[in-house]
Amino acid sequence: MTDQSIDPITLAVLAGRMEQITDEMDATLFRAAFNPIIAEAHDASHGLYHAATGDTLVQGKSGLPIFVGVMSFAVKAVIEKAHADGDLADGDIYIFNDAHLGGTHLSDMRLVRPYFRDGRLFCYLASVGHWHDVGGAVPGNYNPAATEAFQEAFILPPVRIARAGTLQQDIIDILMRNTRLPQSAMGDLNGQLGALDLGARRLDELLDEYGADTVSAALDALGNRAETLMRSELETLPDGRWEAEDFLDNDGITDVPLPIRVALQISGDRMVLDFEGTAPATAGPVNIALPTAVACCYVAIKHIFPDLPANAGVMRPIEIRVPEKSLLAAEFPAPVGGYTETILRMIDVIFSAAAQAAPERVVANAYGTINALSIAGKRANGQSWVMFSFYGGGHGGSSDGDGLNHGNAPISTATIPPLEILEAAYPVMFRTWALRADSAGAGTHRGGLGATYEIELLEEQAEAFLFGERGRFPPRGVAGGGSATTNVFEYEQDDGWHQPPMVSKMRGIRLTKGQRVRLMTPGGGGYGPSEQRDPSAIARDVAQGYVSADAATQTYGPAWKEAEQ
């Protein structure tokens, strides 16, 4: 089972030591970063990557889950560029944000640093962090009307921000001239450079202590171990082929549903995920680049097998087939700003397919949209303000029990700001910040509840923008569990309440003082047939107001009433 070139004790010790290095890189950036998206929401990640292939060797545990799979693509892009440049040197650092090369979206600034030992390239260190603003048409880069990446942000291909240890001021000047928030960007850049320095220093110490050959052997062994773990997990699943399909509401430009399909095939200790039949790339920004699609499969698989390590060995037994030029492999310069919505749907279909193979291993769909809502205006004193946040919803039911009420998205671990912080910073008041009854899918174990947020404007005028999903297609249950409700967004005008024509996507909603917007997010899907739900659990749901009496009777039949005390 174990590698012969390294003893098992040293391996176990080194596994912990290397994880600690990447965790410490994460922690350093979270503390030093200026912008709250990194500092509070931890939208960043760090790791060590293979010198030749760019494969993930070790990655920090506290960064955003989606980066666990996507970072190696950033390193691969740099390896190619460095090969073309032909003069890679110790102390070089590459920087870029091109999402078509490195995955996710243009807000994510990637820094990749070769790490040399005794004159030889040993591995790469990388740092990615979501910057507050990188130019483009819309502050914060969430432009629902973008039809090209150029309208989303300024695009930087892999270039060297440091050469042989010397920072290149020219590159920094270009970067800082292309952001609306240079102070914040400079703070984040410094933080990322600091994290890479720290990683290099810690690696120096580790290699001094154990020797490069031993550490190198440990990295190989850990990759093999991850592969072995994945294969042994796959072997516990039955052989077969299962399909699932779901839809995005639209691309924000044309109101046409966009199918995402997967066929999941297991044979022995191997798995194939084939996305044939998925919609072609679209004009609007719900496309994703191929690296994002691959990384997303990784996230879905790690949620199904949560104990697997964050290491490329896990993906060796898994083949991912994404049709060319599809929504999931959009080519430059297709816009990708709304990538979160698309990968959430990919996770949903992978869960739905896997649940047919092994229902007890899989959780029902979570609420499935990040609901990026911004409200912007000018105060009486002329100062402009933008309140930008993501909102929560319910998690899916599982074999363990009901889903979590009001959780964060599976691709993220970000917490929501307290309403008092938002009210103190912006001229708004939350009239409602509550669980949304009847929003979860029914089941033996029902989904968790979504939420209702109702926000009133306290200043004269403002404009609201929303980028959401699940307005037409609700999150689904697994193993016979029911669907949750859809996402509902409403806004108040002089003549009453309205809903956007594109359901959960709209920009330029004009609000005046006292008018409100209301976001009602989906719950999670249910797990298992609703007929098998314990009547006393239903009675409790009704007593607590999670499910209305009418809905309970309609969904579960009248039997629960006998379980009432």
Binding site: A39, G392, E420, G545
Partner: protein, 688 residues
């Protein structure tokens, strides 16, 4: 009235530390903790050492009653009265999830949804009252909650930190009709911005009130019945003590009472011994708790989660926990990697060697197989002897076979990986926070830590370990020496340029007056009374604040208002110290004022703990046995630790035995008894 008693009630044992100031002697006792009512063990333990309670000046208690009630969800049935539209804040948390991966797990708030009632009222962020509180609705809600069987109620209104008026009126109305004192509101408990953290802290406080005040009343009555006429005090999570009246009002501040007392004692012992920089390591059955003390001061963290979603925001001594204790189970995963924990055999059934039904090898089993723990004299006194063969068999089966190692190699492997994880926790609190561990001493306490002290020296590069004379009762000792302390907070949320210094001074004065009144009411003797002010500040646009110590003079209990310039330069100094740079055009903002009022209690002379005998190391040697280190057995001398005189030196390999602890001195290390009875372990070549 010259005796002080510290009582620490832990999960397994209740520890008693009795200090007689008139004779300068100290006595300790250890009895099993009684459950569910811990007062049995508490009184039994004191009774072992003290016949006449009228001779006792003070009893100071470190308690886990509150923590256990939270972890086991055994608090009271409570109700919540809250702002219209916001009844689910407690249940929605900050939209987090229990674990990053897997999307499983759920959360049950401590207050059911049908006991969270809304009333018309609303205050805005600037303190403006948009809707005055509807007192009829409040009374109706309170009556409803009483009818539903609630015994405590928390009033939780939005933005009450900015203006407490609506909450104050509601509290007054509820107190007029509520049959007991368990009525609280969020602006009384924590007038700080962030509704979830404030509501959670307030609701958990209400949840604990009936339980904890009942427990403390029972203890108090029993003590009084035994003619106790002194002060009965409780250790808070911040490491300071409070009187029982305050503890009954603010039980949530006891959440980490016991561990905090241990860190306080460790800091005092180490500083007295000449080491103001120390990292403590408390090794229990399931976990290893690490805390860092720099320059004699503990690091305080502003909040903690007692369990998923149970957030308590009060200053607490920062303690980092990893799942590597004596009972942590060693196992090899399907990928061939040796892991320690997080599963633990705890103290029941305990390690395989205990013979109580567990068959999975633990860290303790490795120590037993390697001869580091004497199988014929198990500590704690519950068992007669340990089953070495069963431990060896379990190690063989679960670690040796899968990794192709023999029993001894496998046992060494378990220790190596466990030590490496413990060392990782020490790196986390030191190196990762910018402290060089080489200038720190390591102080193990709890039953098992002293077996691993040598490994911490070699793994992290720490210079020396200090094993206190009574490591098993460190928390109880901490109770006796902790200062009395009250913490206050008030959110200001203002630019420094807009601060009204006299208004700020007014709040500071209120904190001083309230704090001094509490000190005065306690009837305790203080050597000094100190006040410490801090502002949480940041640049506008930044979310993480920096703690800015405010140099302010307090004379005759009156505070002098700080100027804006003083605040600005204090911020610059603190910010620069944290981030190494300033923002030239940054606009400074004050989020919160934090005040601590501290009554310094007289410290006792630790030399009273030192051995008085004239003996010698030779005389304290009780024999020898074979102990395995590295890849060979070493004949290792065994010493009766308490019989070693001051100045005695013991070179490794050696084992020092005392009733509740085993101290291991590995080959290449040496231990020396200092003037206070501590054993200082250093590398042979570095000894003084």
């Amino acid at each position: 009235m010259s005796r002080m008693i510290g009582v620490d009630v832990g999960g397994t044992f209740t520890d008693i530390f009795v200090l007689d100031e008139s004779t300068g002697t100290a006595e300790v006792a250890k009895v099993p903790t009684t459950r569910p009512d811990q007062s049995g063990g508490f009184l039994d333990g004191i009774g072992r050492r003290v016949d006449d309670l009228s001779t006792v000046a003070a009893v100071v208690h470190g308690t886990t009653a509150g923590t256990n009630a939270l972890l086991e969800r055994k608090g009271a049935r409570i109700g919540v009265i809250t702002t219209e539209g916001l009844k689910d804040v407690l249940e929605m948390r900050r939209r987090d999830r229990p674990r990053t991966w897997g999307l499983r797990g759920n959360f049950e708030p401590v207050v059911d949804r049908d006991l969270r009632l809304e009333v018309p009222e609303r205050t805005l962020a600037d303190g403006t009252i948009r809707t005055p509180v509807d007192l009829d609705a409040v009374r109706e809600a309170a009556t409803d909650l009483l009818e539903k069987g609630c015994v405590a109620v928390a009033i939780l209104f939005a933005n009450a930190y900015a203006n407490p008026q609506n909450e104050a009126r509601a509290v007054e109305a509820v107190r007029a009709l509520w049959p007991n004192p368990h009525v609280s509101c969020s602006s009384e408990i924590l007038p700080e911005i962030r509704e979830y953290e404030r509501f959670s802290t307030t609701a958990l406080n209400a949840y604990l009130q009936p339980e904890v005040s009942g427990y403390l009343d029972r203890l108090d009555n029993a003590l009084r019945k035994g003619n106790f006429a002194g002060e009965f005090m409780i250790v808070q999570s911040n490491g300071g003590v409070m009187d029982t009246a305050t503890a009954c009002r603010l039980p949530v501040r006891t959440a980490l009472s016991g561990p905090a007392a241990g860190v306080i004692a460790a800091g005092y012992i180490a500083e007295t011994a000449g080491f103001p920089d120390v990292i403590t390591g408390d090794m229990g059955g399931t976990s290893f708790d690490v805390s860092l003390i720099a320059g004699g001061s503990s690091v305080l963290s502003p909040q903690t989660s007692i369990d998923y979603g149970l957030v308590v925001r009060t200053p607490m001594i920062e303690i980092t926990t990893i799942g590597a204790g004596g009972g942590s189970i060693a196992w090899v995963d399907k990928g061939g990697l040796l892991n320690i924990g997080p599963e633990s055999a705890g103290s029941t059934p305990g390690p395989v060697a205990y013979g109580q039904g567990n068959t999975h090898p633990t860290v303790t089993d490795a120590n037993v197989v390697l001869g580091r723990i004497d199988p014929d004299r198990p500590i704690g006194g519950k068992l007669d002897r340990l089953d070495v063969d069963a431990a060896a068999k379990a190690i063989d089966e679960h670690v040796g076979k899968p990794l192709v190692l023999d029993t001894l190699e496998a046992a060494e492997a378990i220790l190596k990986v466990a030590n490496s994880r413990m060392a990782g926790a020490i790196r986390l609190v030191s190196i990762e926070r910018g402290f060089d561990p080489k200038r720190f001493a390591f102080m193990p306490f709890g039953g098992g830590g002293a077996l691993h002290a040598g490994a911490m020296l070699s793994e992290v590069g720490i210079g020396r370990a200090i094993v206190p004379r009574y490591p098993g009762v460190t928390s109880a000792l901490g109770c006796v020496i902790a200062d009395m302390r009250q913490d206050f907070v008030q959110t200001l949320n203002t630019l420094t340029s807009a601060v009204d210094p006299s208004a700020l001074a007014g709040i500071m004065q209120r904190h001083i007056d309230d704090g001094m009144a509490l000190l005065g009411a306690s009837g305790t003797r203080f050597e000094a009374r100190d006040t410490v002010f801090e502002l949480d500040m940041a640049y506008v646009g930044q979310t993480h604040t920096v703690a800015v110590p405010l140099p302010v003079s307090v004379r005759d209990g009156k505070v002098a208002a700080p100027t804006i310039d003083e605040i600005d330069s204090a911020f610059d100094a603190a910010y620069h110290a944290t981030y190494g740079r300033l923002l030239p055009k940054g606009v400074r903002r004050i989020m919160n004022l934090r005040t601590s009022v501290i009554g310094r209690r007289p410290k006792f002379d630790l030399t009273t703990l030192a051995p008085t005998g004239q003996g010698s190391a030779e005389a304290a040697c009780t024999g020898s046995r074979k102990v395995h280190f590295g890849d060979a057995w070493h004949e290792t001398r065994i010493y009766d630790r308490l019989a070693l005189p001051v100045g005695a030196r013991v070179d490794g390999p050696a084992i020092l035995v005392q009733p509740d602890t085993t101290v291991l001195i590995e080959p290449g290390l040496t231990g020396q008894v200092d003037a206070y009875g501590n054993t200082i372990i250093t590398r042979v070549e570095e000894r003084a």
